[in-house]
Symmetry: C2
Subunit: 229 residues, 2 copies
C-alpha cells in the first residue's frame, strides 16, 4: 500500500515536472540557447568532457554550465578553472535534477544580469546517477548519456530508461580500451537495440580523440533545432 | 508544496523500511547468516567481486547471492556461471532495493526449501546507484561500498551518504591504477573524513590482489558478529 501511494505522488510530480520542462524549453528556444542534459553514472567523465569541450566551443560561442551535485561545488570550480561560466545547483540529497530547480536557477540568472542571458549553449551536468535522472525532462534540446569504457559494455539493457531516452550515447575514456574487456561494437549494438536511431560517438577527454566529431555534432544539432542565428 | 509532500511520504516509507529491516536482521542473525549489502555506481565491479569471492568462500561456507537489478537477470547468470547460488530481484524501475523486497525473497526461499535456508554468507548486490540505496537499511550486518579506480578519488564528499554509512570501502580495479590519476591515499583520506572508523581495502578481481584480506575481513567480521558456529 505504501508503495502505491509513492507511485501516485511520483506520477503527480512527473506531470508537474513535464509542464515546467515545456515552459523551460520554450523560453530557451526563444532565447537561442541550445540546452544539453548530460546523464551518467558517477565518474563517467561528465566534468572532464566539459573541461575539454569548453575551450573549443567558447572560441566562437557563449557557453554556460549548470552543475548539478548532491553536495559540494567541486565540479563548478573545475569548470571555472577551465575558463568556463558555471552555476552550481546543489540538491542536498535528491538523486536527480528536476525542472523546477532549473527554473529557479534560470530566474536567478535573469535577475543578476537584468535580462535574458545570451548563451548559445547551456550544458546541464546532472547528478551522477544512471537511474533517477532519466525520468525527469529538464526541457533540454539534447539528452546525452555517457558510458565510460571501465563501466562495461552491458549497461544499456541494465539501465534501459537512460539509454532509451538518449539522443546521443557518448562512449568515454576510449584511451583505456586496451586495458578493459569492452567491445565498442557490442555496446553500440545494445544501445541501438533499445533505441535504433541513437547516435553513438567515441571520445577521450584526455587524448582529445573524438572531440572534433562531438563539437560538430553539437553545432549541427543546434543549427537544426534553432536555425542559424 | 509538491516537494514537501514527497518528503513526508518518503519519511513514512523509511520508517516502515527500518522496521522491516530490523525484523530481517534478527531472523538472519538467529539463522546464522551473515549478510553483506554491496553498494556502488554501475560498473564498479560488484558482480566481478562476487565472481572472485565465491570460489574462495564456498570452499568452506554456504553462500547465497541476492541479485538486485532494475531489468535483466544478466548478473544472476554470471553468479551461477561462477558456481554460485543466486536469486534475482528485479525492481522494474525502482532505483534501490528495500527491506520488503528482501523479505519477500527470503519467504520464497523458506517455502522452496521447506525451512530456514542455512547460508553462512548472504551477499546482496544492490542496484548500481551510489545515491538512493544508501538510504535503505536492508537488515545487513555489513555495508560495503565499492569505489573503482576509474571513477576518481573525489567521490566520497560528492556522495556522502553512501560513504558515511559504509562499514568497509573497497577500492576496486586497482590493477588499472597506472592508467588513471587516482591516489589511493587521497581517496582513503576523503572516506575517513566522513567516516573515521571505516575500513578501506584495495582489490583487483582480475589479478586477485587484495582478495585474501577481503576474505579474511568477511570471515572475521562474521565471527565477531555471530560468534563461532
Amino acid at each position: 500500500m505504501t508503495e502505491l501511494r509513492q507511485v501516485r505522488v511520483q506520477e503527480q510530480l512527473l506531470k508537474v515536472n513535464d509542464f515546467l520542462a515545456r515552459q523551460l524549453k520554450d523560453s530557451w528556444t526563444a532565447q537561442g540557447s541550445f540546452v544539453i542534459n548530460l546523464l551518467s553514472s558517477p565518474g563517467s567523465g561528465k566534468t572532464s568532457l566539459l573541461e575539454a569541450t569548453l575551450p573549443r566551443l567558447q572560441a566562437v560561442h557563449q557557453v554556460l554550465v549548470l552543475e548539478g551535485d548532491i553536495e559540494t561545488d567541486l565540479d563548478a570550480r573545475r569548470i571555472r578553472g577551465a575558463g568556463g561560466q558555471a552555476l552550481q545547483l546543489t540538491t542536498g540529497g535528491t538523486c536527480h535534477l528536476e525542472a523546477h530547480m532549473l527554473q529557479q536557477a534560470w530566474e536567478l540568472l535573469l535577475k543578476e544580469r537584468g535580462g535574458p542571458p545570451a548563451f548559445d549553449f547551456v550544458f546541464i551536468e546532472n547528478i551522477g546517477n544512471l537511474v533517477c535522472p532519466a525520468s525527469y525532462d529538464l526541457g533540454e534540446h539534447l539528452r546525452v548519456v555517457l558510458l565510460s569504457v571501465p563501466e562495461g559494455e552491458d549497461k544499456p539493457p541494465k539501465y534501459p530508461k537512460a539509454f532509451h531516452s538518449a539522443d546521443v550515447v557518448l562512449i568515454t575514456k576510449v584511451d583505456v580500451l586496451p586495458h578493459f574487456d569492452f567491445r565498442v561494437e557490442e555496446a553500440t549494438r545494445l544501445a541501438r537495440e533499445l533505441n535504433p536511431r541513437v547516435e553513438v560517438l567515441q571520445l577521450s577527454a584526455r587524448t582529445g580523440q573524438g572531440l572534433d566529431a562531438w563539437i560538430d555534432q553539437l553545432v549541427s544539432r543546434r543549427e537544426a533545432t534553432l536555425g542559424r542565428r
